[in-house]
Symmetry: C2
Subunit: 311 residues, 2 copies
């Protein structure tokens, strides 16, 4: 965007780790935006007005055109609704809500009000994802294996909410894999799943999922939060043009063992570029497919009880 | 439909109890249809050609224009896809699939092929449902309580599949309640749920669900398969125009204790009338909302383990 265009005046809601690590640096570097306010129950952003709630922020700062909603998913709907009804464009952190139904309702509301709604999936903007998509579109896929295995103690130490009902458990990272898979693979649906619940927790610590694409290609997903040592965020495809490995959460692409793309990531800057783009074109970008697969996995999945988990 | 119009040549797939109890009698009485073939692995329908698979039926009986798919949900997708790709209109028994994703794919496929797809929800055609809808639309709702409590031993004796992963458990009747609720109430989403799993079963025997409509009206649903004695299939609404009770699974409507509608049911004849109507108008009727709420309940719900269940 040329600097002569007025930046989008944005407010940020739900100031936590992801906001400080990703949203604030991405916004600070992007001339398309000017961060004008923040709302959070306990946290503050330096140098701008801060409010205890989105309601207070929207009432006081009339110039806000767009909001970024980064609170936990179960508080997302009311904030999004308030913003959309006030005519503001809305950026939703992932996952876009605690249920698929509420996200569908937000989609309709945004369309009615003529404002933009963005259900962001940051992993889709990992540097090698589009190259993987192009490669897979150009060949015939035989089978796909998704391996998303990390150490929950390292990445989510003592985060109680992820173990609560609706806290997603291992699907919190797993939905990142699904956001890439639903972007680079043909349409698919779940045929079977097993979810492993620690006996002292309300959310799964591991899941094994079998998908089929509409044309019958088998896709498996293996999510595990008990991985110590090397971590895996890999999508492996066996194709007629060779074996494709998209690794590092979408950062690196190799064909038959040869690295063809390996670039530093810029996921959040790209998310904000995309949000500016849908604002300019007056469109929505709300793909519920990753969240839909998670809901389907919970509905269809077999539940195993496994060893108790302690941080 | 006047008798001069050629009846729709229909084939039926998955011949079980619901086909003999409901589909065959409804089709026999409806001059809009002529049943020309059946496909089933083990069962046969007298007086028409029978085939072991939908594939064999469609290959042999070219005159078929529409199919009714009544096999268990996990076998629904392949049959529906084969029929849609052969250019046939498709009637899906409830639930329309084992996952929401696959139903969305079928919807797109039907639209692409220009044929009609009907996700049938028989309880929506219970005699008092439209009157309840009209009543609720004309007043202000304060709160709603859905009570769907029946004796699984009486209605599903020794049906092993309903207890399997993906077998829905108490959501098999519960989805009927949700199909009515999503038709007569404002749009809503789940905010909390508890699912009771017998310690020896893979599907819930009871569920308590809290919904909120977009305008904040509380809606609760209490599903229980352990109800002996009187059975309850009730939706109770507290409104400014009085207390509304839709009972008997949608058959009977009372306002402030006074019965205003009580008529014999004709759900399946009405489903087939509706299917003929969407065929004539070349439209789809696929509302996934009831199934979506079930998937959301499984995703968001807290799991309790309860006493083992034996038939």
């Amino acid at each position: 965007m040329p600097p002569s265009i007025t930046p989008i005046r944005i407010g940020i809601v739900g100031v936590g780790k992801i906001v400080r690590d990703q949203h604030l640096p991405a916004l600070a570097k992007d001339p398309s935006y000017r961060l004008v306010a923040a709302a959070s129950r306990h946290e503050k952003v330096d140098g701008i007005p801060n409010y205890p709630s989105i309601k207070a922020m929207l009432e006081d700062v009339a110039e806000i055109e767009a909001v970024s909603l980064c609170m936990p998913p179960q508080f997302r709907f009311d904030a999004a609704r308030a913003a959309l009804e006030a005519g503001k464009h809305v950026f939703l952190e992932k996952p876009p809500g605690a249920t698929v139904s509420e996200v569908e309702h937000l989609k309709e509301l945004a369309a009615e009000r003529g404002v933009s709604l963005f259900a962001s999936w940051h992993s889709r903007y990992a540097p090698a994802v589009e190259f993987a998509r192009t490669f897979l579109t150009s060949t015939t896929i035989r089978s796909v294996a998704i391996n998303w295995k990390e150490d929950v103690r390292r990445w989510h130490p003592n985060q109680e909410w992820i173990w609560q009902p609706g806290g997603f458990g291992v699907f919190d990272p797993g939905i990142n894999a699904l956001s890439i898979a639903t972007h680079i693979l043909p349409k698919m649906f779940i045929t079977a799943a097993t979810l492993d619940f620690p006996e002292n927790r309300h959310a799964p610590i591991a899941a094994q999922i079998a998908f089929r694409t509409l044309d019958g290609i088998p896709v498996t997903a293996d999510f595990d939060w008990r991985q110590t040592g090397p971590q895996s965020w890999d999508i492996l495809a066996d194709t007629e043009a060779g074996s494709m490995l998209l690794s590092g959460g979408g950062a690196k692409l190799a064909i038959d063992g040869q690295i063809v793309h390996d670039e530093p990531e810029a996921e959040y800057p790209m998310l904000y570029q995309r949000f500016a783009e849908i604002l300019r074109t007056g469109t929505l970008d709300v793909d519920v497919a990753p969240l839909q697969h998670v809901a389907d996995a919970f509905m269809l999945g077999k539940r195993n009880v496994v060893e108790a988990f302690y941080d």
